[in-house]
Symmetry: C2
Subunit: 472 residues, 2 copies
Amino acid sequence: MAKAGVLTPQATDFPRWYQDVLGKAELAENGPVRGTMVIRPYGYAIWERMQAEMDQRIKAAGARNAYFPLFIPESYLKREAEHVEGFSPELAVVTHAGGKELEEPVVVRPTSETVIGEFMAKWIQSYRDLPLLLNQWANVVRWELRPRVFLRTSEFLWQEGHTAHATREDAAAYARRILHEAYADLMATVLAIPVVAGVKTRRERFAGAITTLTCEAMMRDGKALQMGTSHELGQNFARAFDIRFLDAAGERPYAWTTSWGSSTRMVGGLIMTHGDDAGLRIPPRLAATQVVVTVVKSGEGVGEVAAKLVGDLITAGVRAELDDRVDVAFGRRAVDWELKGVPVRIEIGPRDLAAGAVTVVRRIPGTKATVPIETVLSDVTEALEIDQAALLAEATQLRDARTVDVASVDEAVAVAVDDEGWARIPWATLGEEGEARLSESAVTVRCLIRPDGGVPDSEDEPDLIAVVGRSY
Amino acid sequence: MAKAGVLTPQATDFPRWYQDVLGKAELAENGPVRGTMVIRPYGYAIWERMQAEMDQRIKAAGARNAYFPLFIPESYLKREAEHVEGFSPELAVVTHAGGKELEEPVVVRPTSETVIGEFMAKWIQSYRDLPLLLNQWANVVRWELRPRVFLRTSEFLWQEGHTAHATREDAAAYARRILHEAYADLMATVLAIPVVAGVKTRRERFAGAITTLTCEAMMRDGKALQMGTSHELGQNFARAFDIRFLDAAGERPYAWTTSWGSSTRMVGGLIMTHGDDAGLRIPPRLAATQVVVTVVKSGEGVGEVAAKLVGDLITAGVRAELDDRVDVAFGRRAVDWELKGVPVRIEIGPRDLAAGAVTVVRRIPGTKATVPIETVLSDVTEALEIDQAALLAEATQLRDARTVDVASVDEAVAVAVDDEGWARIPWATLGEEGEARLSESAVTVRCLIRPDGGVPDSEDEPDLIAVVGRSY
């Protein structure tokens, strides 16, 4: 389906292909301040659909949305030692406001554990107030020296969940619930992205966490992208912010907290998991526009039939859109819809229509068929289901084909660097020393998993497998 | 229905009543950095419902959501002279980031006309690209010396629409369409807040606009609150950012732009329009929880009946919630639901149930009735509709009763200051001199309207009426 010249082919230069898609599909571009991005309407519609699906899952897991301030007193960040060390190099600092120099500079939130910790301490009195399950949709700022739109930007949009629990076990269970029921489920069933869920090594852990759980996806160039993380924070933030509760025995122990986040980075993951040389391929369940009905040429009742079909599709629960811009060349519109990755395009022209037929172009398998107008509704509905599954199957196959079991650090480097894939190596064989050696080749342990693929309780379990690769 | 001691009565001290409600109904509180706020889950749920209703109306008006950066180069703001003058005193400035001093300081957006103008100039080539209709949901920062939660905060959440058009007429029509179809309609039909829509005087205009349209509501203390504004920006920003388009005649004229915003301030307006001495009163169409089914005491199948009723209500399209926290005193829960303003409370206890009845407490009229369990579903559905209308009627009546026609500046001041209401005075009588005199008593012209109540094309139309009052 690729049209020569529209995009740099993936095989020629994957990063350039990515930049090309961002521009040609009108997804996003760089903002004027270094590392910031402008998300254009077509890109934002993808994010909005992700948000809606994620928000639904987070609410189903019992968390409630709230909003905490963008500005955090600098002193708050210093209260948790590892946290401030982790984030200090990336902070943006407001020193002047309202025409004056501030007495205490404020930082623009890089994440909100500290300010939310302060309020959890106020709101939690007794065990009856636990668990406290909060989530916020917000922008955060982490200054980036090597920004890349959607993947690593100085400002990004995300949700950050923050919860407090009476016991370590309850906190651990909740961090896992979010990982599976919100993140991994959304990614598999809506984004059609198969993720490996596991635990991070000490080296890769979130600053201030005792355990970091992660969902890792493989991009079409064999690199990994971290799609969402869920952290057990132990009692670290509870100690720093004095989050305590009166328990049934009359004691006032510290609570156990968690935090978890997923961001606009998922949009980048979506592009790089499914895109091909003709542009994006949006999974039908995610697509804001699932079907576009294109009027090839006006006249002979074509416009009316097309409009009616859009209405019928919408009535049938399909997100459909009409393209009747006949003043724009048909070929150009076809290329545009391909670039934008709309799953199904129905083309209606006078000739086809005279024969009682329309043309159905499916972006995911790349097929084109003439379909009788009477059956187009059921054909298309069915195609959307089939293509959703096909996209997940294709991504899973690509990932599995590029994942190799190895037995030494050298082999792991070779797989990640030369073969551009993932290596699976026993964590007992690799260890922290091996992990340090990998880093010399810009290779990292993406996560540790159990031999059966399950998520470990911690990185100290025996017999774990390290999944190793290059990453964004 | 007021319970003594829970809230300061409105008549005693309205601002304290407002602060009390914010706390007791768990809506919001002050953040640690001056002027910032923390929106708690119950308050945020109100905002989320407003957002959803507003977003729907904005999309129906053809605008598409996008996202532009939080950080704006300081130089951008300086390009439009009035704009920079208007916003300079309120800016928060980032001077350090990533551990270094920045070469050019960046401001935290107080509004996004400038950065969006920059991109409109890139995206608009010809008349075919017009109108360009954008909207963004975002946080903005305007440093406040006298902050008040929801009403005036250093950071607030809002939507800001930005559009570009080929002609002045088209821009003017669109600014009005948003004012009526998005803002005034949402406020009347969902928030049950009657607004006066009109045009601002030169003195009260948005910095950089040629016309500012506004929706003004009267709070229960007789003061005005600006609930949403829509601006014609003329060609001011188009000139500053070089937003031009190739027209059909081959010329490249400047575009005509608009901007329009509504914010978390609406939550404050909701509280102060409908709240009474017992707490909030949420309009049924807005309420995230329209009906709470309270188990008075457990036992004898009460819990099961209550749970089934919640299920039946949800099936019937009612947003219902179960309160079966029988370990918390029933009286305390009743006071809580009243404070939170949930429109209908259904109380189920063993005694009533034995008689085949439940108690229905309606927050808005403040009535309590025993209702046979067979008819409760239809009774409640009907009550929600009736109470939505009643709330709007009550607010309209309160406002109209406190609005007086006057013929002199002195009378206008007396009405606004002594009688705590609004005065209507011919603009020809008041004029800019009279407006300046009003300001000595902290009284302002809220807006100018036509004698028939319509929105004028501009403040220069003859026979306009000035609506005058104190404001938040």
